[in-house]
Symmetry: C2
C-alpha cells in the first residue's frame, strides 16, 4: 500500500502558526479564528487590502521553523512505516519558494528524523504521483491526470463543504479509513 500525505495541514500546523504570528505581527488588524476559516487560501478569506501583510507572515524565513507538528499525524505515519505502508510526504512548495523548499526538508528532519527526508516529494501536480490514498486538506486536487489515488480529506473548517469524499478527523480514524 502506498499512502501519500500532504504536509501543511495534516502534519504541520501551518494554519495555527499563521494565526499566532499574524496576531503577534499585526495586533491592530482583524483576524479570522481557525473555526471561521472558509477558503483554502488565506488570500481568499482575508480582505484584499491585507494581502501583502498576510503574505509577509508566511513568507518570512523564520516562519516555517516555528510550525509545530500535528503530533497525532506524526504518530500515525510512524505507525504506518512499522506496518509496512509505503508512506510519502507529498507537498507543494509556496509560489515564493525561496525559504520554504529547504525549510520543508529541515522540518521533516527535525520532527521525523533524517531518514524520513527521503520520503519527501516536492511537487505541484500531485495527480502525477502513484498511490492508493492521498490525505490532503485541499478541497479539490486537479492536474494533468485523473488521479489513481483516493483523495481522503484531512478535516479542516475550510473543507467541510466537501461531502463526497471520506475524511480523516484529526487522525482519530485513520486506521478505519485506510483499512489497516
Amino acid at each position: 500500500m502506498i499512502v501519500l500525505v500532504d504536509m501543511d495541514g495534516p502534519l504541520a500546523d501551518f494554519e495555527g502558526t499563521f494565526l499566532k504570528e499574524w496576531k503577534r505581527m499585526f495586533p491592530n488588524e482583524p483576524h479570522i479564528p481557525l473555526r471561521h476559516r472558509r477558503k483554502f487560501y488565506f488570500r481568499d478569506d482575508y480582505p484584499q487590502r491585507l494581502l501583502s501583510k498576510v503574505e509577509s507572515v508566511y513568507l518570512d524565513q523564520k516562519f516555517y521553523p516555528k510550525i509545530p507538528p500535528i503530533v497525532e499525524g506524526l504518530e500515525a505515519i510512524r505507525e504506518m512505516v512499522v506496518l509496512g505502508v509505503n508512506i510519502f510526504i507529498c507537498t507543494t512548495p509556496l509560489s515564493v519558494y525561496k525559504h520554504c523548499v529547504f525549510e520543508k526538508y529541515a522540518w521533516v528532519e527535525r520532527h521525523l528524523g533524517y531518514d524520513f527526508t527521503k520520503r519527501l516529494v516536492l511537487i505541484r501536480d500531485k495527480t502525477l504521483v502513484h498511490g492508493d490514498f492521498l490525505i490532503d486538506d485541499r478541497p479539490e486536487i486537479t492536474g494533468v491526470l485523473k488521479p489513481i489515488w483516493e483523495h481522503i480529506i484531512y478535516d479542516c473548517p475550510y473543507n467541510r463543504q466537501i461531502i463526497s469524499k471520506r475524511r480523516i478527523m484529526r487522525w482519530r480514524n485513520w486506521r478505519e479509513i485506510l483499512g489497516v
Copy 2:
C-alpha cells in the same frame, strides 16, 4: 504525453562542473577525464582516500550556481512545451540536501524562467511518478513500483554498458526517440 527529464546530466552539466572545480580546488590530486568515467557515482570511480575531498566539491554552497546548462537539453524541453508535451523535471536531491534543494529551484528559474519551476519535482523514488518516458543518465532506476514510463538513457560514458534501453545522444535524436 508526459515526459519526465532528470536534471543533473541531461539538463545541467553537473559532471563537467565537478571536473573543472576538482582540478581548480585540488590541482595536485589525480582526476578522471569525463570520457573515462565508468560509475554513476564519483565515489565509486575516485579512490576512497579522496572521498571527503570529492564531496567537498559538489556540496559547496557555490557549486550548483556554477553549473552551466546543457543548451540542447533546454532547447529540447522548451520545444516540447510548445508541442503540448507535459514535461516535468524530475530530480533527486543530494543526500546532504542543505544547499541543493533551493539551488535546484533557483537554477531552473535562472535558465528556464520562473514558470518552469512549477514543473520541478524533487523526489527520491522516481518509480512513483507517472509518465510515458523518463530521460535519465542513471543506468538503473528502481523503487517501490514497477515504473510505468520507459527509461530512456541519456548517453554518458558511465552508462554505456546498458544496451537494453533506448538512448538519447546529446539530445540530437530526442524527436525520433519520443516519436514527436
